[in-house]
């Protein structure tokens, strides 16, 4: 769909993207299945056209916007980001997207807006685990602090590998926050609310001692049941050692200042 997009700032030149086939076949989508393979198949049933996003809360201009209108307004870029899952694997994805901050500016956030809540699509007739009320509270919800949301690294992605986003990878619109564990990067967003208070987020609600609100990638803070010190890179073969995980997934230079006065062990 987008053949020759400019590669945006912050795309690490040294990163070699993970083959598309591997990315398409290895993704968590708990709404469909707890199994990655089944999820990739079942996600094909998702209805993504037409798609609109409601933006509301502490903003001057709340409203519901068609995705195509949003895309007309925003500048698309390719961003090649490392993506680190809390399960201990990582990949490099050439996303196509636009700055979330730029979108939020168009609705004029009020000074009272301190947090951003993202809500994913609710289609229980298609999404089996929603229909069965399995595991998490549905729909899936994620959240960011306003400064995290406005950060230039944070994007809303609509594609990858120069094409529209595969459904299992979050079509038609997903969040990408490269310095946080993958589950923060919510898929199939239908609602964005600016709030005074932090929202209750899905995984944090499910297991607060295991999945913090911040969930910044941090090799020094282990998950209660497994280490986060290293990661298996998709595409790397047998007998290739695991990669040592970097603080903020390697984006510390850009984002460490957001957390300079915080104890990252406490606010994990």
């Amino acid at each position: 769909a987008w053949a020759d997009l400019p590669t945006g700032d912050f795309s690490a030149d040294l990163l070699t993207p993970t083959p598309a086939e591997l990315i398409k076949n290895y993704t968590n989508y708990y709404e469909f299945s707890f199994n990655k393979k089944d999820a990739a198949n079942l996600a094909q049933n998702l209805r993504t056209d037409p798609w609109s996003v409601e933006i509301s809360g502490e903003v001057e201009k709340p409203g519901s916007y068609y995705l195509e209108d949003v895309l007309r307004q925003q500048t698309l870029q390719e961003r090649i980001y490392r993506f680190r899952c809390v399960e201990g694997w990582s990949m490099v994805v050439p996303w196509v997207g636009f700055s979330l901050g730029e979108l939020l500016k168009t609705v004029k956030p009020l000074s009272t807006a301190q947090f951003v809540k993202f809500t994913a699509v609710y289609q229980p007739e298609i999404m089996l685990k929603q229909r069965n009320n399995a595991m998490l509270e549905w729909p899936y919800v994620e959240g960011l602090r306003i400064d995290e949301a406005m950060h230039p690294l944070t994007i809303l992605a609509v594609g990858m590998y120069g094409d529209i986003l595969p459904k299992q990878n979050g079509a038609p619109l997903r969040l990408v926050v490269p310095w946080k564990y993958g589950f923060k990067s919510i898929k199939a967003i239908v609602k964005i609310e600016l709030l005074k208070r932090p929202p209750v987020t899905s995984w944090n609600q499910f297991a607060p001692n295991e999945y913090g609100f911040y969930s910044n990638v941090n090799p020094a803070v282990a998950h209660p049941r497994w280490s986060q010190s290293s990661e298996r890179q998709l595409g790397s073969g047998f007998f290739t050692p695991r990669r040592q995980t970097e603080l903020f997934n390697g984006y510390g230079e850009q984002v460490a200042s957001l957390y300079s006065d915080m104890d990252l062990r406490h606010f994990f």
Binding site: Y26, F34, P224, W226, S227, L234, F238
Partner: protein, 225 residues
């Protein structure tokens, strides 16, 4: 019956290697998906757990069907549980970590789910070591005591499986039900035996009293306080 089972044994030895062959084929044809190393761990861990369950199933099957002579199969399956667990461990050290000992050390220290894997492996390693018949003979009663540790190994293996997962608990749940049933069978047998023993004590005393009355023996031994 016994003859037929013994005849089957050598075939079983080969059949139990098929999962490994299947895995090798999948590796050769790049059939393990986007994260083959993870798939390798799961595949080998699953087979080790399956053989552990089979090992634990032999005694109940013997008790229920009154077949004899299945102890050889128990040993065979137990050794295969050890075999696949060893490959699982080698996969972790070699295929996943390429023997980077510093990272392996941090990983083990920080991952409680691995501690349970280490415990389970430690136990079945000892059991495999003492599995030959001459070891069994030499160890006498200690052998039975030692080999009862397999119950702990099974529970530790299940926890090891559960604790590494974020969401999909269907598979470990399946195995925990199996292990629960297999261990539950032993608890039932133990309770039943205890009750039988209890019932035997009054009978014994009655027999003793009767013998005394009829002058078969002189006097009942006094109870020691």
């Amino acid at each position: 019956m016994i003859f037929r089972i013994n005849n089957l044994r050598s075939k079983f030895i080969v059949v139990c290697l098929l999962p490994l062959l299947w895995l090798c084929v999948d590796i050769a044809f790049d059939n393990l998906g986007s994260n083959p190393v993870q798939a390798l761990h799961i595949r080998l861990g699953d087979w080790s757990l399956r053989f552990l369950c089979l090992t634990l199933a032999i005694t109940p099957i013997q008790t229920i069907t009154k077949w004899r002579g299945m102890a050889d199969y128990r040993q065979l399956f137990g050794l295969y549980a050890f075999f696949y667990a060893s490959l699982h461990l080698l996969g972790y050290l070699l295929a996943d970590h390429a023997l980077m000992w510093r990272i392996i050390g941090i990983d083990i220290i920080e991952s409680p789910y691995i501690w349970f894997g280490v415990l389970a492996y430690g136990i079945i390693f000892l059991l495999a070591l003492t599995s030959p018949k001459w070891a069994k003979k030499r160890m006498g009663k200690t052998w039975k005591k030692l080999h009862r540790l397999i119950y702990i190994a099974a529970v530790a293996a299940i926890i090891h499986y559960f604790w590494q997962l974020k969401g999909n608990l269907a598979e470990p749940l399946f195995y925990s039900i199996i292990v629960f049933l297999l261990l539950g069978f032993r608890v039932l047998v133990w309770v039943k035996n205890r009750q039988l023993t209890k019932m035997m004590i009054p009978t014994g005393q009655r027999v003793l009293a009767l013998a005394e009355k009829q002058g078969v023996i002189q006097e009942a031994p006094r109870k020691q306080r």
